[in-house]
Symmetry: D2
Subunit: 326 residues, 4 copies
């Protein structure tokens, strides 16, 4: 259909298409408002009369992002349809600036779809990151876990279906469904808040499962606002904050002028000196990480995986217990 | 341009057009995301599998609004460009859920445009509403006010221009500009929050000047989501909250069944009885107002007043002091 | 300890005490900022110089609430510690203006405590309210449900404990725990947003379980700001919105003056007339409900049920699987 | 008065005292909820059962802040009473997460107090920062500016007073008051959002006048939550974000291990190499700034300047035009 509104052809290409995530999940970009040009237009209203207008869109967008001038990026909105396990939804929902409409277990029947981690994702409690995981679990543990999951889900799904057959209120029938069950919602937010979400959720310290959702959403965002995407990669995602003490240390190791930046000959700081600057042992380990050259991640969508809304809708509705309850 | 996104033809008709408000102000709808159908779609994800799908869009939208199910209307966004006096902008900005990019007096030169109330708007301090106005001021008072406004504005504009010529920092040069000066911004919000804004700001107790902005914005919203507009008129704007004591009173005066609603023969409550139910004197006056038959307001836009962006932009930039500062 | 800050003695009496909700849940008021006097003080800054200051606190607070002047009530804050089933937490969290810190299943071990509905709460799917329940289920259905819940919870708890013993990452071990499991959090909000939450959640259409939490929190709020509590009961909770069409109908049935309010002799509106005014059949049923005399609910706390933090903390930590994981 | 709530003795010492800012402005901390210990307590609910509890408060608070775990700091609230010029208030209000009650020019009479910049603050438009100022203006320009300000304020104040005498509505009488006029409000926010505000507003790129407010508020915050204050200085205020390209550059100049951090012998990057890494010319200038050793600012309050509420209130009310309008 024809519109006078700003258009992003790359976003139109995937609009309403469903990209698989995990074993039964999906993300679809279902609507958007504005593109990079609208970020620029909003910024220009601040830099109005009497200011030079020579900057190109790219330069302005990069300047805004580098200097944390985030309000113009609130002028762009993205709306997603997401199908994800409840424990993932519980992490999403902490981002309070989004608008959400979720499938209600009080009104509706829940499709009996559950997330089963793959063997390579089934890892042990991390030693270094107290909330994470690292190192694949032994095969026999995974096999036993799968056996237990399957038994539990048959039993929980069976109890749910049986209560529905007894006409028990849906809001009660659902209380023993597990956190691995898939739910779904519309989730809408502006570009500024989306970037904050993505920065936290594509991070390796986020739970691996929500990372998969965030990576697909980053690929979608790239199609709506590609210049903002690049600036986000360079100035947010691959940037690191250097603390006061770390900057003190760097200033002793590096000198900079308008012409070049160079190592100070022979400069070195040992543990004692770093500690005197205020760096704890843990902070030294963090500094080592920050001084590695950053890798540029890639969130390009694989268009060959895109599926139609009808197809996905059918898959969901077939998993609903007992067509007779419709 | 072509899009797969939902379209509202009536909104497209006015998109980017500028509607005059007050003597130098404007409102333009510059973008929107979604229509009534998207409110419905968001609601349907909650009323998903196992629920009947017989409601029509209109019935569902009216049901949602009547029962304060407001989250689906967060799924629609509207973006406006507004030119308004600073004292009006200061009332707008109290609605914290909107995204805003305003012309910055630190970066930019401010156009020397000021709001001058018309004679019929130049009223006395209200006796009944301690923050309002009522009753036109005498003609000689208006004439003297105009004379003072004009002198002040010439002087304030002159001081501003003189400081700019002396290269004084813009952020200082502007500090004695008056609250009647026009500023401008992009202002974006979702339909739920817009309706809340409109309900408060088309109200006769809002300052008359901001009412004029809200009335035009209501006309624009009507073109984006006409079913929601109707439901808002019927269930929000022309509705009134009846308190516990008022409901007690009504129950003694009226009886209702599934078949009819009728006055109880001879039922009457005097001041003493109303007071015993808990109604103060002021509340009785409020009840009398609520029991008047409501008038249905009309916020239809007058398309003949619509002007082009270029035209309005030219008017603004010509009011900026001294082209040499560009 | 001594403070210059405003104090509510009735709130101090229960501060840090734990009130049981459901079978293993609790709510505790752990901190508050401000009282009714602070709502008044914030309002007075708006009604400052040149206004009469004769209103008493009670009158002002009632005026503010009746006229939806809600910003002064944002000046009071309450902080709660809540222990509730995950499906209840998922309803709480939709109130996005609260600040929340929840027990994390990624970091921490979850106590094996699950909510088991009582027989009298175990009801059938409601016919009138598509998301609710009504009418107790047959005893044999309840017995079978209890049997299934117990089996499921033993199995789910056992799988969780076994995975922890195998050192599986906590964030994975927890994914098949059921929605009936208890979680806990600190939950802080301002008085304005709390009242909005309470209005929605003490409502009979809210799920019965969250109503129990809201009722206890209402009792706590009453101790922090008793005048606001009364005004909330009278002007929000027991008030009803009458729509444009309903007001049209009332105006034909009732006439009001500054002296009295009385039924119009012989006035009656049948279905056809109500329909002509715009009332649908469903709206007529809603009007009948609104015209019943309202009942005044009571949210008084039962102080004899209050328990100590130590006691409750011990109960929780004893339910954590395997002290050896500490 | 006696309370069971957490207390900060250093905050109690200044509670309700007024600290002067600019020529007629003030800030007062009028209430607070929680201290550093409450940030810790909120974090502990996440790191609950099965986690080691050896961290000290200081270490935990520093860890949280360094890693952007900001939700626990939302659990502390501060409430301020601020008297500031309207153009400063217009910058404050952009922080939308605060609760605000402002003196209303529709209800109330405005005190005739205006901000007059000192000579040393009266600077020219900055060349380097397009929204700032630098370099004192010539004395004769300042003298002429003062002359114009005084004339304008006498005239604007006179017109205001005259219209009030003619009983013109207050909401109209005030429209030509200048942006330099003082207004006042209660302003309440949580510690997380306050720190965001302070980071932006003590920054030298913020307008000098709002910096003065933010500096006093930082000194007040330090008394409520001193450990959080220290962590904010070290990890937010004096930290800088190094971009992807800057980290690439640093990795070529510095090497780090768990034992030490040292300059790479002879490493140097010229303009061409930095450009090849993606640094624009402007970014090189920014990098030079970031590599300076940071200075630690000091926001200690000067208690000798603290004034009583009565004293300040008297000063304000005496500036209201015409006691006869009271």
């Amino acid at each position: 259909m024809d519109t006078k509104r700003p258009i992003s052809p790359a976003a139109e290409e995937i609009l309403g298409g469903y990209f698989p995530v995990l074993d039964h999940g999906f993300v679809s970009l279902v609507d958007y408002m504005g593109t990079d040009e609208d970020v620029e237009r909003a910024a220009r209203v601040s830099y109005g009369y009497g200011t030079r207008k020579t900057s190109q869109t790219r330069g302005l967008i990069r300047y805004l992002r580098r200097h944390h001038h985030t309000t113009p990026s609130e002028m762009v909105e993205l709306k997603f349809h997401c199908v994800m396990p409840i424990f993932v939804a519980r992490q999403f929902i902490r981002h309070r600036t989004a608008s959400v409409n979720e499938l209600s277990g009080r009104y509706s029947l829940m499709p009996l779809l559950f997330y089963r981690p793959d063997a390579q994702q089934f890892e042990l409690q991390s030693r270094s990151n107290r909330q994470g995981r690292e190192g694949e679990a032994p095969a026999h543990v995974y096999e036993e876990a799968v056996r237990r999951w399957e038994a539990l889900r048959i039993e929980a799904g069976g109890a749910y279906q049986w209560m529905l057959e007894q006409d028990v209120a849906r809001e009660l029938a659902r209380i023993d469904l597990p956190l691995s069950m898939y739910t779904q919602w519309y989730w809408k937010t502006d570009l500024h808040n989306l970037l904050h979400f993505l920065t936290l959720r594509v991070d390796p310290r986020a739970q691996w499962e929500i990372q998969q959702y965030a990576r697909v959403m980053a690929g979608m965002m790239k199609r709506v606002a590609p210049l903002t995407y690049d600036a986000w990669i360079d100035y947010n995602l691959c940037a690191r904050s250097f603390t006061r003490a770390e900057r003190d240390a760097l200033a002793r190791l590096v000198e900079a002028s308008g012409e070049n930046v160079r190592a100070r000959a022979g400069a070195s700081l040992g543990k004692a000196e770093l500690s005197a600057l205020g760096l704890s042992g843990r902070e030294l380990a963090e500094l080592v990480e920050k001084l590695q050259p950053p890798e540029r991640p890639d969130f390009e969508l694989d268009l060959s995986r895109m599926r139609s809304a009808e197809d996905v809708g059918k898959e969901m509705s077939e998993a609903v217990p007992g067509a007779k309850f419709e």
